[in-house]
């Protein structure tokens, strides 16, 4: 299965890119998506995650075709 990953704001600046693609044989949690892409970099504290544009816990299961996003606390308004 294929998962599309997006990074925003300071997290994107820190890791140096805005998007990733992950091809993986089976279901993964959000945390496992990060670990598969960044095995040597722990997810920065306070990082938020979304799956298909809905906030998601790190334990949420990601399915084929899902869009996973990682970003710092939001600061709009």
């Amino acid at each position: 299965m294929t998962i599309c990953i997006k990074y925003f704001a300071s997290l994107r600046d820190r890791i140096g890119r805005a998007e990733d693609r992950l091809d993986t044989p089976g279901e993964l949690t959000v945390a496992a998506v990060w670990a598969a892409l960044w095995p040597e970099t722990p997810l920065p504290p306070n990082t938020l995650a979304a799956v298909n544009m809905e906030y998601a816990s790190l334990e949420q299961i990601v399915c084929d075709g899902d869009e996973v996003a990682f970003f710092p606390p939001v600061t709009g308004g």
């Binding site: 925003f8 710092p72 709009g76």
Partner: protein, 145 residues
Amino acid sequence: MKVELRDSAFDPLAELGFYRTDSSVPQGQYGATAIFIGTMRDYNEDQSVSRMTLEHYPGMTERHLRRIVETAGQEWPLLDALVIHRIGELQPNDPIVLVAVWSAHRAAAFAACRFIIEELKAKAPFWKREATVAGPRWVAHNTPG
């Protein structure tokens, strides 16, 4: 009900004027309009700020803004609501966000307006990067409401 992102400067008073004319709010029905305008200051956390960039997550931002306004409409008897939020490059004194809520009575209008801006700040995926004399910096978190 309207929710909109703007990638260039907007005038909240002019927008309210347009919306008042276009709106489907029945004239004579609303007794209370509560409005919040967030404006870019030229300082933040004791540092002078000369420019700001507002990044967002296209798609997710609009979805959450709409949901926040719909939730407010379920919670309070609103007649209409308007939310406009800037993205892109801002200068000090530029409006960032406009929240306007129309209701028959003031308690609902105030409560819903406050709810929308608090929820927007807590959940809508926007991020501010400020240009300061010490270089650019990402705003780490919003001030508590």
